[in-house]
């Protein structure tokens, strides 16, 4: 910037002061926003790292240990979280993807599409505790079934469905109509066009949305608290009424005294959960990037 002419010289004192004030405000706000996050992250890593660095953390459950006795690990909770996540995805992904295909490829602009769209909007706004209580009412109060890992998965399905459906919809919208027309012009029926041309073209985007949707529900706690009892032992059957998961492992140890081994397990579980979700996010990025490279 030139300062050679009079009118281009530095601003008067008043303006300079305002500039300074705004600048300070912006920096302080940014700091306020970031500080708690950094603080949480640093304390979780500092407190949790010792726990997850022991080999037994990844290979043993907590059978036979207590909050007072050291040893054992988080295997039961890691497997539980992964299993409930898997069951959730297996139910939610096909429904969400097919719902999105219905909305974009078959019913675009119709009254039906608007109705489904509206319902999905509402669904995406419900709090996780409401989803949990809904499933509780349906399966346990009305049908008389017991609490189970599957019941927790079903509540998570309600939470995952709208996010995956919306992200899939966006990806399908990005597929240019010219590709659909090219397929029709080859004499392909509509369903083959969708399955063989539209979905492969949008695949990496859809997969990214699925992984991010999964990462989002992995840390949900309310459905797990309400619909499945926490267990310190490793249980594999999805119909079992007791299953350990990382969020409920954290919850179960929240009152343990600082000096006991059970205390560091809580931090370890928190760190493990963060690593799991971060891993899924990185995976999603990788998938998105791989898809983009192929387009070139």
């Amino acid at each position: 910037m030139s300062t050679t002419t009079g009118t281009l010289t530095s601003p008067r004192g008043g303006r300079r002061a305002v500039d300074l004030v705004v600048r300070v405000l912006v920096y302080v706000s940014a700091l306020i926003a970031i500080a708690p996050l950094v603080w949480i992250l640093v304390s979780i890593v500092a407190e949790g790292l010792p726990a997850i660095l022991s080999a037994s953390w990844w290979t043993q459950d907590l059978a036979g240990t207590t909050d007072r006795r050291a040893g054992g690990g988080a295997l039961h909770a890691i497997i539980g979280t992964l299993e409930i996540g898997l069951v959730t995805a297996v139910v939610a992904v096909p429904v969400a993807v097919m719902g999105a295909i219905f909305l974009i490829e078959y019913a675009r602009g119709t009254r039906w599409a608007r109705l489904v769209s509206f319902t999905v909007d509402i669904l995406s706004g419900i709090p996780s505790i409401v989803a949990a209580l809904f499933v509780y009412t349906l399966l346990i109060t009305l049908l008389g079934l017991g609490r189970s890992a599957v019941a927790a998965s079903l509540a998570l399905v309600l939470l995952m469905l709208p996010t995956v459906l919306r992200s899939t919809e966006e990806m399908l919208k990005l597929v240019p109509d010219s590709l659909r027309e090219a397929a029709y012009a080859l004499g392909l029926p509509k369903w083959k066009t969708v399955v063989q041309v539209v979905i492969p073209t949008a695949f990496s985007g859809i997969a990214t949305g699925v992984i991010l949707g999964l990462a989002r529900v992995m840390g949900e706690t309310a459905p797990l608290l309400i619909l499945v009892a926490y267990a310190r032992n490793l249980y594999l059957s999805p119909t079992t009424s007791n299953m350990g998961t990382l969020p409920t492992m954290i919850n179960s140890g929240r009152n343990v005294a600082e000096t006991l081994p059970g205390y560091s397990r809580v931090w370890g579980a928190a760190l493990t959960l963060i690593l799991l979700v971060m891993g899924l996010n990185l995976l999603a990025r990788g998938v998105a990037r791989a898809g983009r490279l192929k387009d070139r």
Binding site: A182, Y184, L186, G187, P200
Partner: protein, 258 residues
Amino acid sequence: MAKRIEVEDLDVYYGSFQAVAGVSLVVEPRTVTAFIGPSGCGKSTVLRTLNRMHEVIPGAYAKGRVSLDGVDLYGPGVDPVAVRRLVGMVFQRPNPFPSMSIYDNVAAGLKLNGTRNKQELDETVERSLRGANLWNEVKDRLNRAGTSLSGGQQQRLCIARAIAVRPDVILMDEPCSALDPISTLAIEDLIGELKEQYTVVIVTHNMQQASRVSDRTAFFNLEAQGLPGRLIEINDTETIFSNPSLKATEDYITGRFG
């Protein structure tokens, strides 16, 4: 293979808007017919009714008769999907499938319709790419993405993809308008070869192109915005360009030449 197209008294509507009125014309087998005319006069619309592609646009419908060797394409029980296997199409912008390799793009029509025989697919891919004058440029990289080619090569890939399913008729909607002059020339040469086997209909805004590649030329016009477009004159290309019978045709052609 090549078939004769007859259009009788065709009206095309987009919802309540009539885009084209009263078009009747005949396209002989193994000829190239060019559609010319100002923007918005309905060239693409008429072209797309020849393989019922207009039906993918919600609300679009046609009245009148379009027949292929005497078979009414709009007759009861006729499947538009089957029509499009007989009447292929090449679009204005090259649109290879981005999720597929060059090979798979060409094989797409056959593969997706159930052909699994590897040898048959290989032969078809080679024949079609040779037919589209692209074989020598891509034979060493058939597994690369179709979108990795240049625009002109992509357009020839799309032509190869269209002829791979052995249609009777090939429709082209401004196939060169997104291409450089050299790729354009390559496609024009190709059109000359295609007409030995296929019936070709091409929409173009380029008068020289129409006169270079086509045997017959159809001039469309529209009286005013909001009114339907009409077929004004159709004749041998030479006649249209040297001695058109209507003033409007002459004005359009000479206006374009400047």
